[in-house]
């Protein structure tokens, strides 16, 4: 009778099921473990709200638009943090997305077969490097290069734009954006590759059959089919860039101010929490930081949910698609 209980979802006729005590205990233990996950998420949201309760009651929604961050006067406003988070992530994507999509398309369509596995391997290695290591490398290797060569060049060539004016310190919004781009590329590459692999070969073959070159077949048949999945991959990368803490803290300059220049220091939500949390003295300071954490959590949840919906739409039901998630 227990033979009916295979792993596939079925309706069981209760009279025909015989559950020994062992089965019941086993299922009970598994259910307890499984229930733990939604409980954990609910708990996470609950603790965030609880911790930020004081700041929410004192500042309300004005917290999101105010720019004052004064621990001594107990006035806190997160707008520079939110702005810095969005700008650094947007810049990082502007750098990372063309490169990542290019690499993903190359690896799935044009690369010689022997190159594909090692390249995928290297991408996974890049994704495994811890954030602090990127930050360490960023401080001592990337920033000197940027400060001495790249930034002055940008200022000479594009200095008429307000983005490239102003003094060059080294730690800046642009440095943080560059390291974020390096960190986010492996994720976008990996997911894009899975999404492109999920495109049915019939699409490619149809285009080739109509006389397209390989490049034209990719651009006109494969990429448009996978478009929502690729956008989903980009948005997943955005979600990661928004939450990235350590490397950004070490490279962004940590200043609660909005500046037009990309060479000026900035701040992000995650970096502010990382820097100030263990040194905050007053309850309202800690509560404000918890409020920032809550906002960050809500932003990343919404963006990640949107991304997964898009990826699911393009790779519905395919094996490669489900692996992409």
């Amino acid at each position: 009778m227990t033979g009916r209980d295979s792993g596939a979802p079925q309706r069981h006729a209760p009279a025909l099921e015989s559950k020994s005590y062992g089965d019941r205990i086993f299922k009970g233990m598994l259910t307890a473990a499984a229930v733990g996950l939604p409980l954990l998420l609910g708990f996470l949201v609950f603790e965030l709200f609880l911790g930020s309760r004081e700041a929410i009651s004192r500042f309300g929604f004005g917290f999101i638009t105010s720019s004052t961050w004064d621990p001594v006067a107990e006035q806190f406003g997160a707008w520079p943090l939110i702005f810095g988070t969005l700008v650094s992530a947007a810049l990082a994507l502007m750098i990372a997305v063309p490169l990542s999509l290019g690499v993903a398309i190359y690896l799935t369509e044009f690369a010689p077969l022997r190159l594909r596995q090692p390249a995928a391997f290297i991408i996974e290695l890049l994704a495994a490097i811890p954030s602090v290591v990127y930050g360490l490398w960023g401080i001592f290797v990337l920033i000197p290069i940027l400060k001495n060569s790249v930034f002055p060049l940008l200022q000479n060539v594009l200095g008429f734009l307000p983005f490239f004016q102003g003094p060059i310190y080294g730690p800046s919004m642009l440095s943080a954006a560059i390291i974020l781009a390096i960190m986010v590329m492996p994720y976008i590459m990996a997911v894009s590759r899975e999404v492109l692999l999920a495109v049915p070969t019939s699409q490619r073959e149809a285009a080739l059959g109509l006389g397209a070159t390989r490049w034209e077949a990719v651009v006109t048949a494969v990429v448009p089919y996978a478009r929502s999945g690729l956008i989903g991959a980009v948005i997943l990368g955005l979600g990661r860039a928004l939450g990235e803490t350590m490397a950004v803290t070490m490279l962004i300059g940590n200043r609660h101010e909005i500046s037009a220049s990309l060479f000026a220091p900035g701040y992000t939500m995650a970096a502010a929490i990382a820097n100030e949390f263990s040194e905050a003295v007053t309850d309202i300071h800690l509560s404000s930081l918890a409020y920032v954490a809550l906002l960050l959590f809500l932003i990343t949840v919404i963006i990640n949910a949107g991304a997964r919906l898009l990826i699911w739409r393009v790779s519905r039901g395919t094996i490669a698609g489900s692996r992409a998630l």
Partner: protein, 267 residues
């Protein structure tokens, strides 16, 4: 056009080579016996090591595994064995949401739950934060690996008279075990390198300590503190520690990937 794309690959690979190369050049020279065994020297003085951080990472990550693995693997088995139920669907959704959560937010939650209520930092608060990061990862990989086990194996065991729990434990789990171990190793590699959740839970410590109710050192914390500190000596140690950390993380990740690749080759 293809040349443009190929050069994009080069641009993507260059940072990895650059980073690994810099780490080896700047860090390898500092790796001696004392580095691995000694605790931190007083600030600014030469010498000292990161033995206390190695022990600390082992303790904190070990405890995180003890907390996180039962929940993660249990939930994964449930989701694979009873896939249509609302709890399984809910679990998958929750795991997806939580895997996208920034690690600093998880650190704040662990702080609010444990550190704020107790009034002091502790290593187990750090472990709880890392476990919260680990559970969704392990749950997803466990579920995927169990789903790969052919139904015929399960049905054969049931046909031979095994009760359901025994069929799952001795046949299905044993078959999926290499994959589950792989998923666990990958999750361990990921949380071993996490700094943000530990910043205000385990806090860090300059001395050897096995007291889990007090602050404890960890390798990523040492890298962060020393890299942003003012002393040249600290910078030198930061490079070496980062090299050790990255070797550990990469070896774990490589071993995990290689094991699965042999068993379940992908096209």
């Amino acid at each position: 056009m293809v040349v443009v794309l190929a050069s994009a690959v080069v641009v993507a690979v260059v940072p990895l080579v650059f980073i690994l190369g810099t780490l080896i050049i700047k860090g390898a020279g500092s790796l001696n016996a004392m580095f691995f065994v000694a605790a931190a020297a007083p600030a600014g003085q030469t010498g000292g090591g990161v033995g206390h951080a190695i022990v600390g990472t082992l303790v904190i990550v070990g405890m995180a595994c003890l907390i996180g693995l039962p929940f993660g693997i249990g939930a994964g088995i449930y989701a694979a064995e009873y896939p249509g139920t609302r709890l399984a669907v809910g679990c998958r959704f929750v795991a997806d949401v939580m895997s996208g959560t920034p690690s600093i937010v998880v650190g704040v939650v662990a702080w609010a739950w444990i550190v704020a209520r107790q009034g002091h930092f502790s290593a187990y608060a750090g472990s709880v934060a890392l476990a919260m990061l680990m559970i969704p990862m392990v749950m997803r990989t466990t579920e995927e690996m169990i789903k790969l086990v052919p139904h015929s194996l399960r049905e054969a065991a049931l046909a031979l008279g095994y009760p359901r729990w025994r069929a799952t434990l001795t046949v299905v789990l044993r078959t999926a075990l290499p994959g589950i171990v792989t998923g666990t190793l990958l999750a361990v590699a990921r949380i071993a390198g996490e700094t943000a959740p530990l910043l205000f839970t385990a806090l860090g410590n300059q001395y050897f300590s096995l007291d889990v109710s007090r602050p404890m050192a960890a390798l990523p914390l040492v890298v962060f503190t020393y890299a942003t500190g003012p002393y040249q000596e600290w910078h030198r140690l930061a490079w070496a520690t980062a090299l050790v950390l990255i070797i550990v993380v990469l070896v774990l990740s490589l071993a995990a990937r290689l094991a699965t690749r042999q068993r379940y080759p992908r096209s």
